[in-house]
Symmetry: C3
Subunit: 140 residues, 3 copies
C-alpha cells in the first residue's frame, strides 16, 4: 500500500544498575529520520514489565537522580508483596511511568520541547533491554 | 479514501469488585486481527474517569494483587477529599494509570513483550464498562 | 502524498497558579474539526518538563481540587532534592501524569467519555505554556 517504507525500529541497550534513567533521545531521532516521516508522530514502546519510558529534563542530571530517589521512597521493596520474584516494586514503578510515550514529528524531527529528553526507565536492572520506535505520518 | 476498513472496535466488560485488574489482551488481539493492519500500532482507550488501562505482567496473578494493594495504600479513601461522590481516590488512581496505552503492531499482531498483558484497571466497580481499540497502519 | 491537510495545531495558554488543572477540551475539539480527520485519533502533547496532560472528570470542579491537593501531599517540595532550581517535585508530578494523551476520533469528533475532559496539568506555574494536538486517520 503506497509503497510504505520501514517505519518501526528496535534498539538494544544495556542498563547498569537496578534503577536507572538512560537517555535514548538519540535513538528516537535516528528512527524518525530513517522512517522518512515528515509530519506525524512516533511511539516509543518498552516491551518489558519492570521497565518503562518517560519524557523529562535532559539538561541537569540532578533531575534524574531526584526522580529515581523519589521513586525508591514511593515504592519500597516491601516484604508484604506476594509476588515470589521479589520485584513487585519494579512492576509498580513501570506502571506509574508507563510502557509508551507518543511524540509529534514536525519537519522530519521529533518535536521535543527545549528541555525534553526521552529516557528508558530501568527499575529491575542491570539487564539487556530493548525498545521500539514506530513512526507514522499524520493526515486526513 | 483508499477504501479503508473498519479499524476501531468497542468492547463491553463487567467488573466484579471495587478494584480489579481485568485482562483484556484477547480483545486487543481480536481487534488487531479484524482491522487488517499489518504494521503500525493500536491505541486502547478507556472512556471512564474512575478506571484506566495499563500493561504489565500476565503470568503470575500475584503481581496484579500486589499492584492493587499498593494502589490502595498509595491513594486511600480519605475523608478530606471534597468531591461529594466519595470516589476521588478512584479518579486519582485512574490518572496515575492513564486512559490509554499505545502498542506497536507487527505482522498483524500486537507486539507485546513476552510477559506483557493488557489490563483494564477498575477502581470504582463493580460496574458495566467499555473500552475501544483503534488500529492504524504506519508509513511515511 | 494524498494532498494531506494540516493536522497538527499548537495552542498557547497562560496558567495562573503554581499547580493548576486547566481544561483544554475545547482546543482538542477545535483541532480535530479543523484536521478533517473523520475516524482515527489525536495525540495531545505537552513539550514542557514541569507540566503534563491528563484526562479526567470535567463536571465537578471538586475533583480537580482533590487531584491537586493529593499530588501536593504525594510529592512535597522536599529540601532533600538535589536539582538546584528547587522544582524537582514539579518534574516528578509531570512524569506521573505524563506528557501526552491519545484520544480516538469518531465521526469527526474526539470520542471522549461522557464525563471526560482533557486538562493541561501545570505544576510549576504561573507561566506561559503551549501544547499541540496532532490528528491522524486510522486505516489498514
Amino acid at each position: 500500500m503506497l509503497g510504505r517504507m520501514k517505519t518501526s525500529y528496535t534498539f538494544e541497550i544495556t542498563t547498569e544498575s537496578r534503577s536507572q534513567l538512560l537517555a535514548v533521545t538519540d535513538q528516537v531521532r535516528e528512527a524518525t529520520r530513517r522512517s522518512g516521516v515528515d509530519e506525524g508522530f512516533c511511539v516509543v514502546y518498552v516491551p518489558h514489565t519492570t521497565a518503562g519510558v518517560l519524557i523529562n529534563e535532559n539538561a541537569d542530571p540532578d533531575v534524574a537522580a531526584d526522580v529515581l530517589s523519589y521513586f525508591e521512597r514511593l515504592v519500597p521493596r516491601s516484604p508484604s508483596f506476594r509476588h515470589a520474584e521479589g520485584n513487585s516494586d519494579a512492576h509498580i514503578k513501570a506502571i506509574l511511568t508507563g510502557s509508551s510515550v507518543s511524540i509529534p514529528i514536525g519537519k522530519g524531527e521529533p518535536a521535543l520541547g527545549t528541555w525534553q529528553g526521552v529516557f528508558f526507565a530501568e527499575f529491575d536492572g542491570p539487564r539487556s533491554r530493548r525498545f521500539t520506535v514506530t513512526c507514522i505520518a499524520s493526515g486526513a
